[in-house]
Symmetry: C2
Subunit: 327 residues, 2 copies
């Protein structure tokens, strides 16, 4: 695409701060078609500009690309080891893959991998995770708890609580947790968490915790099939956010809860998780690898396993499933 | 060390096949001290020669270094996918580390890493595993069963059974299994197995199974503190073995049991494991991360967990422990 049109667009918005400029007037000003204007507006959006489009008024730039300044993750970071060793990249296949390799090579506990963009972002159950450039927090944290693998679900729940609290502290957005660790706002997905591990039969070597948070996306930044089911902190607050500050807030909460867990065990974490959960006490459908179970989500066990009571009164232990809330 | 003495030694043994040559006569022949002869004999041993030393008679070479010919692992291999993709190296830190990286990079199921020597061989519970050059089988196999992490102990037990059967088929040596997967002959350790994994909360991505087998070691090849507690196939049979053939036998048994497991589940594997176990029905001491429990090894659960009944009649589930048999 012509870089002249792009430069002209940025100039026009700079000269008319906070004003709406119509596609028609921009096309006339720059001597090109309205389709060309629309394409360049989209390109700016994808490069991190936050733009507003209002029918019959036109376009307005709300903010220029906000990039993560890696130093800003450390500057003001209020932890003793979580997130203090930051590995930052512009574009990666997946922060999980990088963290997995770093863990194999002996990375210290608390090592954090952050990227501006993931080409092959992964979610639970081999799903893709959309990670558009400059829009969200795409990061992976390495923890090394001395626990047997049977207890890893506890850490999955701990991270969900810490992310809820970190987001709330910084932005005021209050998310609910859908078992085990989806964060929802009014039923729309704000955050996905993927816990991977390197372990042997006796104990965990490394937990690699992928955290994806939709931060500055506008509705149009989501692929169409996600627009009704996803949300972002921008959409919930009508404000764009410095993602480094949110990362700091989350690192602080993870460290606080992790130290609590190492000292007191899972019980206090369980209480917190239950207080944020929207799954418990609800009728839910759990789609597992071995079939589908419908029932009442009664609670979680001390290992973090979901207990589901079906209509015949039988209680099922759910280790891994997709949970559908029926409303 | 002088390579002339080494050459002279090999020549002397070649010219006197199957005869014992005394240190004194060799020293005289080669014009050096008896200490120099002894040092060179040790060097030959470490390089894979199998030597016998008999008091008042002298030294005899039983066989020259027997190396694994990588092609011979494939030639005659009777499997459809287990062990068919072989990654061979002369010297590695640990075959586990290499297999871990290959698994992250998407290695196919059944990929096998074999080395002649490990500098940093690892066992369970962060112990070292001695892996001297040309003497044993040091290998790591990648499996990708579609199971949740809770079921991985089942695969640990499956591998123990397959290794017992593979060794027995090829060499006639019949080993017992000490829970979960130590292979013993008359109470002496023949084989160690280390199961590591890459997984997420929902399922296993890769199991990386390290198998270390003492094959052609003579007693002097073991470090002194192991000489009373370790054994080798050579020590049990008084014969040196082509390790590639033993690897083939084990790959064949692993594939057979693994296919059985994928089709019929853990039950038939459990019965086989129980038939080889020397732990069950015995009073044992389990040293776990959280302390020591003494009791009767009653059995294993359907997940592969050891059940231990203490003197008060309480049954403990043992996920991870060192088991001491009290005799």
């Amino acid at each position: 695409m012509s870089s002249d049109i792009r430069k002209g667009l940025i100039e026009a918005f700079t000269n008319n701060p906070n004003q709406y400029l119509s596609g028609e007037s921009l096309a006339e000003l720059l001597g090109c078609s309205r389709t060309a204007i629309w394409k360049h507006i989209e390109a700016l959006r994808q490069d991190g500009f936050i733009l507003e489009a209002v029918r019959k008024k036109g376009y307005r730039i709300i903010s220029s690309p906000e990039k993560i300044v890696p130093d800003n993750i450390l500057f003001g970071l209020n932890t003793s080891y979580i997130g203090r060793n930051v590995h930052f990249e512009e574009t990666v296949d997946s922060t999980q893959n990088i963290a997995q390799k770093l863990a194999l090579e002996g990375a210290v506990e608390g090592t954090l991998v952050v990227a501006e963009e993931q080409i092959g972002g992964r979610g639970r159950l081999e799903r893709k995770w959309q990670s558009p450039k400059y829009k969200g927090i795409w990061m992976s944290l390495i923890l090394k708890p001395a626990i047997p693998i049977m207890k890893t679900p506890q850490l999955t729940l701990l991270i969900a609580v810490a992310v809820v609290q970190g987001i709330q502290d910084v932005t005021g957005v209050q998310a609910d947790i859908k078992w085990p660790n989806d964060l929802l706002v009014n039923g729309k997905k704000l955050t996905g968490i993927l816990t991977e591990m390197q372990a042997d039969s006796d104990r965990v070597h490394s937990l690699i915790i992928g955290i994806g948070i939709n931060v500055n996306q506008q509705l149009e930044d989501f692929e169409e099939e996600l627009q009704s089911s996803a949300t972002s902190i921008y959409l919930e607050t009508k404000t764009s956010w410095d993602r480094a500050i949110i990362i700091q807030g989350i690192m602080k909460q993870i460290e606080k809860l992790y130290l609590l867990y190492l000292e007191k065990g899972f019980y206090p974490i369980k209480l917190l998780w239950e207080s944020y959960s929207i799954s418990l006490g609800q009728k839910v459908r759990a789609n597992t690898l071995n079939g589908s179970i419908f029932g009442l989500a009664k609670g979680i066990t001390d290992d973090g396993v979901l207990l589901l009571e079906d209509d015949q009164g039988e209680v099922h232990s759910i280790y891994s499933a997709d949970i559908l809330m029926e409303t």
